[in-house]
Symmetry: D5
Subunit: 94 residues, 10 copies
């Protein structure tokens, strides 16, 4: 089941440098593990913004929430979700 | 060069049935030709809305405008564009 | 899989009376069939507005789109969807 | 009398860990007591957000305010209320 | 039970003069009957706008919806509702 | 001269408990004195929000500003004002 | 008593040319009479918009409403009002 | 050249009392000097808000920016500018 | 004096084809004459939108209004203006 | 490839004076180097705001992101991007 998700990140400017580096490393590892499993299908940077647009392919709402809630950066994110369906003009559909 | 594009469609309710059917057939053909060429990389229906989220892979701004302006449904669309860049956490990047 | 859906209805003021009555009867029948099947779990009127808030329990995004797209009033609706998950404070969870 | 209520939570990032755990435990207990009494009819997590959508069935506006004002997390919440009425298409109505 | 209600009116500019006069007379009669019954406690014109702010004192959500849905001008209104409770600083409370 | 005023309150979460209690006591006394003088005609709590809707009956804009600017909670408030006039449907008008 | 008022005008594009000319002439005459009386203290065009910002000096809310409601262009306007008071930095105050 | 300018002020609640008094005195002196020169034509308090609406008559955009950027309260302000032109209904125009 | 101006165009879908072609030809001629005179310094198409972003270099507010008000497409445009000043980091400044 | 970019700056009021001066000097040097290379084609101050509107001429989305992400003031900016294309009325086009 597909979802488009936009995540806007806002890390406090007074966060300790080392804590921040660790947080970002954890975020990257977390994201890449899900990408390798195929649940985090795509991730793109929004140009000029500390934000990404991602496509998730998960078993359902419960799993999507679990994945997003578990993001190391979750406390610093604003998240916007669009549930997706097959588009009738998609060439993959016929 | 990648762009996320959201298109919201609003066709006048008094449009003639035959004209509408033709318009939608043209839109589908137009979209599928671009999908086959690889410029219209993905298209998804937004659940419960007459709208889609698409990913375009085009040579640049000029080409993206040409493609969107040429959409048969363009006069009935509201279009929102987000330029995309590679995300540093993308596993495809390394 | 649960979704909260808010539907705001705006029927053109010049719609023919008979056509409107038929449309509303079809909408009611369509909704009640889905309620009896258990997919349209709840529907409430928003006080003072031509709108409803509903809870859907469907197999996934594809089915939710199919159900909403098929609403007789769909062309006259603005629809807002919130995917839901179990809340950790829900007594039904334990 | 029914109300749909959406609560968005924003806990300060510098809150002491123990104070936060206690606060969340109190919130859960408070919510569950009201659920058991039948006044807090349903609670769902909004996917990917620190937020919930709930249905309250209370004696009236005074009681709803008392319940919400008393939430341990109230100082950290933004609350949006929609008064509900029976929908004429509800199968439970006939 | 008290509710603050703001109603913004937008009557189509091409409405027939006689039909409009009748509609407005019906609206006034409808409003005044409810005022005399005490359910429509106050009504004020918003300066410079085709809008009013009103206070309703009704038995609950169901009755408020019935009253508002029945307004002759309802199809031409945008309605915004704020449920009210006693304020602890109100001198009438003590 | 009548005005509808909505006040949304946001007190800093780190305000000292005693300072806050004193501030709230001053606010209540200030409000009640104006209510007794008849200038602060009504005050209601907005259900589920740290906010009130009030009706002021003052000599004019200068006096309304003086009253609001003097509120002990003024530095912590967002204030929205709607000037009111007699409504032609008001039964008190005839 | 002073008020800043912004009026945005939107005349239907299919209005008959002669009717429109008459309407605009009436609006101008109406405005100029009030300017000469001193109640419509200032009027400026907002650059690049069919809109004006005006300062009114009237006896109170009732009179302001009467003046605005009576504008020949009122049915085609969106009006935004800001009640004004003397500013403590105004050199005219001392 | 005329501009309508709205300034909303938000001074940090923890600013030292003496620093704040000095800042406000500087702001007042700055404003009054420009009023006496005729560049700051009018200033009014927005009722119930820490805000003003002002009319500036300056040589152009560069000068307006210089004036506003130099405001002692500039770092604490949100500023909204509307360029003004003569209105054809202005009696001063003929 | 520089201004950034964004113009969004919305031509009624039922406009006669010939009338529309003439209107667009007039708009182009009008724009190009001003470009040649140097007052309409730059014009760019906003990708995927019936809109442009332009830079004007005019004698002041009065002239800018005259130019925009005279646009053949003015009745079909929404216009947003940002007055510009020299930026201290501009290399042309030194 | 052209992009219009608006940057709104918000530097924390408690930033150390020397750190701030250094930050601003770095920003200016960074901007001017890109201006000299021709990638940062134009920069204007928005009158009365700590903001600029700029035109970038870069090889594509990746480069635009690299440039913006590298701005010394990036952590203190809100950035809004509009991809641009040639306008058919541009005299430079013919």
């Amino acid at each position: 089941m597909l979802f488009a998700v936009r995540m806007d990140v806002s890390i406090p400017q007074d966060m300790d440098g080392k804590a921040k580096a660790e947080l970002l490393a954890n975020e990257k590892a977390y994201s890449q593990e899900l990408q390798r499993k195929g649940e985090w299908q795509s991730i793109w940077r929004c140009v000029g913004e500390y934000a990404n647009i991602s496509i998730f392919d998960v078993s359902g709402n419960e799993r999507l929430h679990e994945v997003l809630w578990g993001l190391p950066l979750f406390p610093y994110m604003t998240i916007d979700i669009t549930p997706l369906a097959v588009h009738p003009s998609d060439v993959a559909v016929g």
